[in-house]
Every structure is written in structure tokens, then in C-alpha cells.
Amino acid sequence: MNRAARCTILPALLAVSLLPGLSVAQDLLIRGATVHTSSPRGTIEEGDVLVRNGRIAAVGTGLAAAPGAIVIEARRRPLTAGLFGGITAFGVEEISGEPSTVDNSPMVRAAGESLEPRPEFDVTVAFNAESVPISVNRAEGLTFAVVAPSAVTGGTVLAGQGAVARLDGRIEAFPAPSRTLFVNLGPEATSASGMSRAAQFMLLDQAVREARPPATARDGDFQLLTPNGREVLARYLAGGRIAFSVDRATDIRQVLAFAKRNGARPVIVGGAQATQVASLLAAAKVPVILDPLLNLPGTFDQIGVALDHAARLHEAGVSIAFTQLVDPTHNAFKVRQAAGVAVAHGLPWDAALAALTSGPAEIFGLGTELGRIAPGYAADLVLWSGDPLEVTSVAEQVWIDGLPQPMRTRQTELRDRYRPRTP
């Protein structure tokens, strides 16, 4: 399928024609935009962004396009870096309730036994770049997101590996520096760990010992991990990134201690009580990926969470990025609304945009590649109808690596089939 050929050009973009067969070599100049760079340059009024070979070549004012370049007249509309969709199951979950379309957790277990920790489970292997939820969310301005393994009921503490996916349909979607091991702690993952948080850390410590046996140790009969699992875990313990799903303040402290003890770089996902340990997180440079809409205690671990959560963490100097908890895959795009709500509850606007762009890119090792409108960065861009954090704004055009992405989706096809005849 030629996506460029299917791209519908909005009237406002008719200054140029985006032709089928558009090549990556063609320059793109977006002119006269309100450019929110997510970089130290801040916002550039009536700014121009020049894209060459899929990368941002220049950002400024009065930029000239080479002959043959595509020119987009932005007419002061906001331009941002492509947005981060959070911790999702993009490409590994089509319909949440249909197991035949869901691939985000391993169910390898012997009858009657709890699930073995499988750090070697790599969810990215099942990634389907043509998944409908991806195209729908891309048209809402998301250009990258984490594809993560998921805890299931009776699931394992060590859930497996995921990574950041670029959302333009490419097969090799996962930049290597973003690879991450996922660990689920707290009440959601207890059934495979003796129904106890203490048992979760007991299992983690045992797994670490197996992955990195002391020189004097002899392996006994009991092995928690497979040989492959031991190798994979050892890699993450050598300075790799481990994302811990955890809410309770006291559990976050345990995670920080575990990571320090074992040489891993932790990322906190959820972190409902993170504000209680904000200074610790800031000092240890441990980021938090949170849902700013969470303000009710769904569990006892979440007591105290509030709508100013993001603002308080930011103020304490904690790096933050946003994710959506209610339906993190199909409704991943709701992170944009969540960011706006965080602004309404005290988070500076620039910090909210950063939590959807440069923040997550840095957290996942892509801080020099994605998340900013700056020379040398991938040309992942979104032109908005208005304030990108406002619920009445929409993405008018999305580019990934400088290529316009289809703004038609299965949903717009349905809309047009059933559009009221006499509005």
C-alpha cells in the first residue's frame, strides 16, 4: 500500500500537492508555524522548519526552500514534535477482549503452577505495524510509543522486554537504545509471587543471583530462570533500563534500593505515590511515567494521588513522561488531553509538552534522535489546528521521518459512509 497516495490533503495544506511516490530525498519546508521546539529554543513565532532526507535540517525564520521542495504554509498554526503515546500494546493488541488478537503476555506454564519469570519474552517480535489502533492513534498526532509486555492475572513479576516503536508502519520499528525490561510490582502482580510484595523482591533477588552468580556459588537444582532468561537479565543488570510498574511510596523506595544494588537504571511507571519520594527520585535521576488523570485510589497503593501530581513531580525536579492507564492502547492519544489537564492543575505548558516529546525520548535513550524540533533530529512533526494540548484541536498533518502520514483511517472511512445526509 502506498501511504502517500492515500494521504488526504486538507484544504489548508493545498499550497502544495503531495504526490504519490514521494521520496525521502525531497525537501520539506514548513513555513510560518508557531514552532514549539521542545528544546532550549522554546517557541518560535512564525518559524520555519526545513526537512532534508527525513531529518530536520534547519529551524528558524525566513528559511528558503531548495527548488522542488514541498512547501507547507502553516499560517501560524502550532507545530510540535510528534507525540509520545505512553506505555502501550500497539501492534500486539488489536481488540483487547479477543485473545486471538492479543500478544502482549506469555502464558507459558505447567498445569497448576504459577507463571515462571520470563525476562527473555520479547513482545516486539509480535509487533504488527499495520494494526488499526496504530493508524488511528497516529492520525491523532502520536509518532512513537513504548510497546510493552503486560502483566496478566496470575502473571509474572518479570514481564519481559519491550521498546519504543516508531509508528509509521515500518517493520524495523524499534530503535535499539530504547530496549527496556519490564517488571510489575504491587497488588496487580502478586498471584504468581506468593501474594506478597516481599515475595516479589525475593523472586527478583533470586533471578539476579541466577543471572549473575557469585564466583563461589554452585547452581543447585532450583532454577527460576531459563538459560536464555539468565542471559537476558544479565544484559539489563549491566546498566540496562528496567521499567518498574509500581505505585506505593514504600515500594518505590525498595525499587530504588534494588536498582542501586544491582546496577540497573530504573524507570517508574505509574508512581501514584511518587510525590512522597520526589526528592529521592530527583536525586537519583529516576524518571516517572504517569497518568495525570489519576486522582482516585483505585487501589490502596494509590491513596493520595491527585491532579497536581505531575506539577509536584516536575517542581521537585523529577523527569516525567505521560501515559494513559484506562485503555493505554486504543485510547493512547488521550495523553494529549491528560497533559492539558495537568496544565490546568499547575504544570507549566512547556513542561507538559515536554512530557509528551523530549521527556520520553530522553527516558528511553532516544534524546538525541526524537522528541525535539532541532537540527539533526528525525523529522517527526505534527501540525495542529490549534493549541496541541486543547481538546478541541486536532492533528491536521503528521510527518514521520519527513514523510506525510495518512490522515485517513478506518474510522474516517466509517464516518464518511454514515455521514448524515442532511446536516
Binding site: E94, E98, P297, F333, K334, R415, P420
Partner: protein, 452 residues
């Protein structure tokens, strides 16, 4: 860092006094606001007078002796928001096992159970919904069952008992469910229904039983009347049939005393349910969730059935796959169309205005003319209509109950916040003077305080 707050007794007593004081509150005069009145009108630079718990007057240049005057220059006023689909109190936070009170999933037809008997007024979600401008909500049983039981319409006031929250005189709702949920729940237990065929057979048999039950009472009423007319009462009076709580509810629905609310995603299933309603002579107040309602928008409008919908939830199950962001706008579009923004969520109920804003913007981009004064009906007057309480709430017409939200700006924005929420004319939320302690007993004295 853990803080255990210690609150002075006086502030607690002050908070308790709020609910009780409504009937005797001084009049409130909101001056110079942009008012969306819920009838479809927008009045710029208008005043609004609340007196004795009612809307007393609306228009420019009002005056009232002894009224508290609120300068609302640059701010917007709407009716109190109404959510027709909530599980607050029956699926309360925290979602511990002990709080799973929304589905009596032991039989596919449990029309005899009432949600109000499980509502926990200490659910912290009531307070966060109030901060979002919600003054009235219907709490429904869940969708595990074909016929899940009666819903209750509540006033969103801080309360110790459910009875203090009940909307006086509001009709009950009847919760029914189409599609995947009942057949999954009972199919999984190896009993009927396990298919959509089984679903419909289940509704039909239940209503057929209710018809028979109604005939028994009609027969008894005739015998009783005849007995009382007899001069010589030689025999014993006729014995009334034994009450059956399940069938009593279904008869109430057929008689129009109970509003029928049906969880139904697919257009084709809504059409089957409309056939069912015709067969048994009841009216459907609203289809809830209705991800495919846009495919049937003209039919729903013709039949006077509302669509209680989300702006953009989708994809979590097969029957929710065909979502379009214009669903609400398309259901609203036909003459007599009745679109409602509902939440089904403790998170979503806090921002019904934002959900409506999304739907409004998508409708506008699809070429429909939807100004804010039209869209506000989706979460006020249309919701009141589906609940059978449109004569009392949902608009700011004189005589209506004084449920009012003062917004810091145009409410159709992600940055909009309710500055003040009035219920029965009493101030129940004030953003400038947030309560120092949570309304919920559950959160009281917990680390870091309550939900903010």
C-alpha cells in the same frame, strides 16, 4: 514526608453544615456571565438569580435584596451536569473485592435488585465528580446480566446515607445489557445465555413472565373491586398474588413508571432491542455506550430514543471496534436527535465538559453546526430527559432546581475548571476555598490527604 493531617473540629462542622443549609441559604446573584442555559440558548452578559433552592430569574440587570453577588465577568455558567451512567458507590474506590457491588452476576435476569441498596456514599469519586460540576447522576447496576436491576438517580451531595442522596421523585431506571458481556459471563458458566440468540430469548421470556404477572394482578384487581361492591360479604376477600420483585420491576418498565436504559454497542442489536420494546410495549429511554449509534441515528431520533455515548472510548472489545469520533454529533444531528455524553467511569465523570468538547469539535469539523449552547444539552437537558427528570433539572429556566456550575472560562476546553458548583442553590464546591479535609470518610486521616 508522610503527613497525617490534624483538622480543627470547627472546619469539619462547617463542612457538615453545607448540605443542611441549602433550603435557607441567602439568594445568590451571579452577574454578567456567559450563560448556556441548557435549552439551546446562549445569553452573553447575563445575570442568574438563585433563590430558595430554585432558579428565580435569568437575564441582564437582575437585583435581589441580601443576595451574595458573584461577579462572573469573563466566566461561563451552565446547568449542573448530569451523568446518566455511573457506577460510583457500587464500584467504589478503592476497587477492592469488598467493593464489587455492581453486578449480581448469579443469574442473567436480576430485575429485583436495586443499585441504591449497594451505594457506598463514602466513595471518593462522588467528591471528584462534584468538582467537575456533576450535580445529578444515575448509578446503575453493571452489564453482566441481561436485566441487571434498577438504577437510582442521586443528588451529588456529601452524605452519610444513600437516602440523603436520592433525587426526590425521580423514576427508577432499569438496566439491561446487549451483546458480549452477558453471553460471556453466562456462557463461561456453561449456562444460558451463551449467544446473542440466548440473550434475546432471555429478555423475551422475562418480559413474557412479566406480562403474565401483570395479568394476575389485573385479574385480582377486578376480583377485589367486585368483592368490595358486593353488599353481603359472605366469602373471604380475594387473595392477592405473591409479589415477585423481578417481575414487579419489569411490569414497572412496561407501564412506563421505570425508564429503560440499555447497554448496547452495535447498531443491529439496537434495532433488535427496539423490536423487543415494541413486542412488550415499553419505551427505551436511552441506549448506553452505543459505539455504533451513528449508523442508526435517524431511527433513534424517529423513535425518540437517546444515545448515551462516549466521545472516544473504543476497541476494548469486538462490539466497540467501529467507533467514530463523530458518533455523538451524528446522533445529535437529526431533528429530535437526543445525544448524551455519559461517563461509565469515575475518571470520565470528572470531565464530561471535555468529552463534550471533543465531540463538538469533531462534529464541527465534519460540517455540522454545533455551537456550545447546543452541545451543553448533551450533558444537561438531554440527560435529564433520559432520566425522566427534565421538568426539574437540566436547564436554567425559572422554577427549576438551582443546580448551577460557574466555570472559570468556556467549559469546552481542557483548561476549564468549575469555580463554583451549586446544588439546590447551595454552594457545594468552591475552587477558591477547597475543603481542608476530604468529604469521604475513607480518605480522612490517610497519608497525604485526599483526592485533589
Amino acid at each position: 514526608m508522610t503527613r497525617f493531617a490534624c483538622w480543627p473540629l470547627a472546619s469539619i462542622l462547617a463542612a457538615m453544615a453545607i448540605a443542611a443549609s441549602s433550603a435557607h441559604a441567602a439568594p445568590t446573584l451571579i452577574r454578567n456571565a456567559v450563560i448556556l442555559d441548557g435549552t439551546g440558548q446562549r445569553i452573553d452578559g447575563s445575570d442568574l438569580l438563585l433563590q430558595d433552592g430554585r432558579i428565580a430569574a435569568i437575564g441582564p440587570g437582575l437585583a435581589a435584596d441580601g443576595a451574595e453577588i458573584i461577579d462572573a465577568q469573563g466566566r461561563w455558567v451552565t446547568p449542573g451536569l448530569i451523568d446518566v451512567h455511573s457506577h460510583l458507590g457500587v464500584y467504589a474506590s478503592p476497587a477492592v473485592n469488598a467493593h464489587q457491588d455492581g453486578n449480581e452476576a448469579t443469574d442473567p435476569v436480576t430485575a429485583g435488585v436495586w443499585a441504591e441498596h449497594a451505594v457506598w456514599p463514602q466513595d471518593p469519586g462522588f467528591e471528584t465528580a462534584r468538582a467537575g460540576g456533576v450535580t445529578t447522576l444515575q448509578v446503575l447496576p453493571g452489564s453482566a446480566n441481561l436485566i441487571g436491576g434498577r438504577g437510582v438517580t442521586l443528588r451529588n451531595v456529601p452524605a452519610t446515607t444513600m437516602q440523603e442522596m436520592k433525587f426526590p421523585g425521580a423514576p427508577h431506571g432499569l438496566k439491561m445489557a446487549c451483546g458480549e458481556n452477558p453471553k460471556r459471563v453466562y456462557g463461561g458458566k456453561d449456562r444460558a445465555p451463551s449467544t446473542r440468540m440466548g440473550n434475546v430469548a432471555g429478555y423475551r421470556q422475562a418480559f413474557a413472565d412479566a406480562q403474565d404477572y401483570r395479568r394476575q394482578f389485573e385479574k385480582y384487581d377486578l376480583e377485589r373491586t367486585a368483592y368490595e361492591k358486593k353488599k353481603s360479604k359472605d366469602g373471604p376477600p380475594p387473595v392477592p398474588p405473591k409479589r415477585d420483585l423481578r417481575l414487579e420491576t419489569l411490569v414497572g418498565a412496561m407501564n412506563g413508571d421505570i425508564q429503560v436504559h440499555i447497554h448496547c454497542y452495535r447498531a443491529d442489536e439496537m434495532a433488535v432491542m427496539l423490536d423487543l420494546a415494541r413486542e412488550f410495549g415499553f419505551k427505551v429511554a436511552a441506549f448506553h455506550h452505543g459505539v455504533e449509534a451513528y449508523k442508526l441515528a435517524d431511527r433513534l431520533a424517529q423513535e425518540g430514543v437517546c444515545g448515551a455515548l462516549w466521545a472516544d472510548w473504543w476497541g476494548f472489545k469486538m462490539e466497540a471496534f467501529d467507533a467514530v469520533w463523530e458518533n455523538i454529533a451524528f446522533v445529535d444531528a437529526p431533528a429530535n436527535g437526543c445525544a448524551i455524553v455519559h461517563s461509565d467511569s469515575a475518571e470520565g465523570i470528572q470531565r464530561l465538559n471535555q468529552e463534550a468538547a471533543k465531540a463538538m469539535a469533531r462534529g464541527q469539523r465534519a460540517g455540522l453546526e454545533i455551537p456550545p449552547e447546543r452541545a451543553i444539552r448533551w450533558l444537561t437537558s438531554n440527560a435529564a430527559r433520559a432520566l425522566g427528570i427534565a421538568d426539574r433539572v437540566g436547564t436554567l429556566e425559572p422554577g427549576k432546581i438551582a443546580d448551577v456550575v460557574l466555570w472559570n472560562r468556556d467549559p469546552f476546553s481542557v483548561y476549564a475548571l468549575a469555580d463554583r458548583v451549586y446544588l439546590d442553590g447551595a454552594l457545594v464546591f468552591d475552587r477558591m476555598a477547597p475543603p481542608r479535609e476530604p468529604a469521604s470518610d475513607f480518605l480522612l486521616g490517610q497519608p497525604t490527604g485526599g483526592a485533589r
